[in-house]
């Protein structure tokens, strides 16, 4: 009796447990990074910023089924909003700069959502590429504001809470990134499990069925694009605040495409998958490119092919897949039936 009472039986309790587990895993991974790789905190902070971008992409692609190769526009929108406020507005409070990134991402998300969602399927993909290329061209053109191809510099955030300076070792930036990721993860878990999140998952699966329930699809998708933009914008702002520069690469097609690769690698439609995909992919890339500067791209390509072929639902499906293998091993006698 006591055992069945202990086990979480309602879906809410089970989902809460998953959220708590995810938060614990992020905190633990954050601590490991801090203790074991004190010299790589700059790289790890870039991973955290990218993780926010990939989470953001997961919201529209994984949860809503919107195909996009232009998602870095939202990241760049946040990075430039935050960077320009610092460089031209003289704002130094890092939290204000993060808020500016969130707002910049939100606006970019809503605008690009309104454009991209006019189409579906392949035309949608093409529109998304056009959006990020246009954003990039615009940032290049407005070089007086953005620094153009030289990048935007002169971002010098003051100490966090007036106490913790963004020093050369990057501890403050790294811890800020981990904290941001914890907050965003908790918020997005609540979002995807909410009635709105359920509706979005329905939209991904069958738009006609959703319409037959009486739900309006486009407003829901645009709203999700706005939220997604806020998350990506936070990532862009984190990058701007911690590196002190914003370059055109922050809203490039390449960054958009690599975000999609990391999402598929980890498993679209799962927040944990987005995070695992980002971390494993970037760490693997980082390690392999250092160890083997000539063949690292080949190795990354092979890893991707292996994951996509053997784990079509991404790395997040690995535990279930292994459990299945073990179970089959355990009961070989019935294998032929």
């Amino acid at each position: 009796m006591a055992a069945t009472k202990m086990a979480p039986r309602s879906p809410i309790a089970r989902d809460r447990l998953v959220t708590a587990g995810g938060l614990a895993a992020i905190a633990a991974a954050g601590a490991i990074g801090l203790v074991l790789f004190p010299n790589d905190l700059g790289f790890l902070t870039r991973v955290l910023a990218t993780a926010l971008l990939v989470l953001s992409l997961d919201l529209v692609t994984g949860y809503c089924g919107v195909a996009t190769l232009g998602h870095a526009a939202l990241f760049g929108g946040g990075a430039y909003a935050s960077g320009m406020l610092a460089a031209h507005g003289g704002i130094q409070d890092p939290l204000v700069l993060l808020a500016a990134g969130l707002a910049g991402g939100l606006v970019t998300g809503l605008v690009s959502g309104l454009v991209i969602l006019r189409a579906t399927g392949l035309p949608q993909l093409v529109l998304s590429i056009a959006v990020v290329q246009l954003a990039s061209a615009l940032a290049n053109k407005l070089s007086g504001w953005t620094g153009g191809s030289d990048g935007l510099s002169g971002i010098s955030p003051g100490p966090l809470f007036g106490r913790f300076a963004f020093d050369l070792w990057g501890q403050t930036g790294y811890l800020l990134g981990v904290a941001l990721l914890l907050v965003v993860f908790a918020a997005l878990r609540a979002l995807v499990l909410s009635p709105f999140g359920l509706l979005c998952r329905g939209i991904r699966e069958d738009v006609i069925r959703v319409g037959a329930l009486g739900a309006r699809v486009r407003p829901a998708l645009v709203a999700m694009y706005g939220i997604s933009g806020a998350v990506a914008g936070l990532g862009g702002a984190l990058s701007a605040v911690t590196t002190g520069v914003v370059g055109l690469d922050s809203l490039s097609f390449e960054r958009s495409a690599s975000a999609l690769v990391m999402l598929v690698f980890g498993g679209a439609g799962s927040l944990g998958g987005a995070l695992v995909g980002t971390v494993v992919f970037q760490v693997f890339e980082h390690a392999v490119s250092a160890a083997n500067p000539f063949h690292w791209l080949t190795l990354v390509g092979l890893l991707l092919i292996a994951v996509v072929l053997f784990l079509p639902r991404g790395l997040q499906a690995l535990p279930a897949r292994l459990a299945g293998l073990v179970r089959r091993r355990a009961a070989p006698a019935r294998g032929g039936a």
Binding site: S10, P11, I12, D15, A190, L191, L193, S194, P195, F196, G197, L198, L199, R201, G202, E205, D206, I208, R209, G211, A212, L213, G214, A215, R216, V217, A220, A223, I227
Partner: protein
């Protein structure tokens, strides 16, 4: 009270005339069976009424309001609900979540984005009650894609009922459902509020006789009969329509 009226609904796919000036009215309490040979245009008729397809000509009036140009979802929110001949369900969601989403949508709660979808226990209990009645209590927590097709057909019905329709259009609800499970459909439909209007496309005459008090026959896009279930069996025009469509 009249709930649905279609006037001279007309549609052609290229040269194929799939709806020829179909006129039909449904009143509160009606239980109507729409029958006709394969390819007669029955599903097309439902798609026209719900707005999935736009007619070339004609009018659709729902509870006194002209909805001919209205979007599908807006008609649903006014009480016009349909099921699909081939199940359209959220296969990656649990059976319960499929019904819960319908209820949340009906209650106008799908814009809520903070608390868990299952927070309101009365709504979850309602979803479970719909599933229980259709014999799906056991699989409520299973992924829809993992349950038998016959059970998926029943989930279609649970969703439609959960939307609390004023006018319910059922496209072959029993197709793919085993004989043993058919009484569940009969029971679920019998439990609907008596004042709604139900139109059911069905090939199984047993079910038609059990559920319908009026039958209309569609053949090659045109209505050729409107009368009692008893009369339809012996009507020479209907027989000719079926024979004709199979003969050519």
């Amino acid at each position: 009270m009249e709930l649905l009226r279609v006037e001279a609904l007309t549609l052609a796919f290229g040269g194929l005339r799939v709806a020829r000036e179909i006129s039909l009215a449904l009143a509160s309490g009606d239980r109507l069976a729409l029958i006709g040979p394969n390819g007669a245009g029955k599903t097309t008729f439902v798609n026209l009424v719900t707005g999935q397809l736009a007619p070339d000509a004609g009018r659709i009036v729902l509870a006194g309001e002209d909805v001919t140009r209205m979007a599908v979802a807006a008609r649903v929110r006014r009480g016009l609900v349909r099921t699909f001949q081939i199940s359209r369900l959220f296969r990656d969601m649990s059976v319960r979540d499929n019904v819960l989403l319908a209820i949340l949508q009906r209650e106008g709660r799908t814009a809520r984005a903070i608390r868990h979808a299952a927070t309101d226990r009365t709504l979850v209990a309602e979803a479970d009650a719909h599933l229980e009645r259709l014999g799906l209590g056991e699989v409520a927590g299973d992924r829809v894609g993992a349950i038998a097709y016959g059970q998926q057909r029943l989930v279609e019905i649970a969703i439609a009922v959960a939307l609390r329709p004023k006018v319910l259009l059922l496209d072959e609800p029993a197709a793919g459902v085993s004989r043993a499970e058919q009484p569940r459909i009969v029971a679920a439909l019998a439990a609907l509020p008596p004042d709604i209007a139900v139109l059911m496309i069905e090939h199984d005459m047993d079910l038609v006789l059990r559920l319908a008090r009026r039958v209309v026959v569609l053949a090659a896009g045109a209505l050729v009969f409107d009368g009692s279930p008893e009369a339809v069996v012996s009507d020479p025009g209907v027989r000719a329509a079926y024979l004709g469509s199979y003969g050519t």
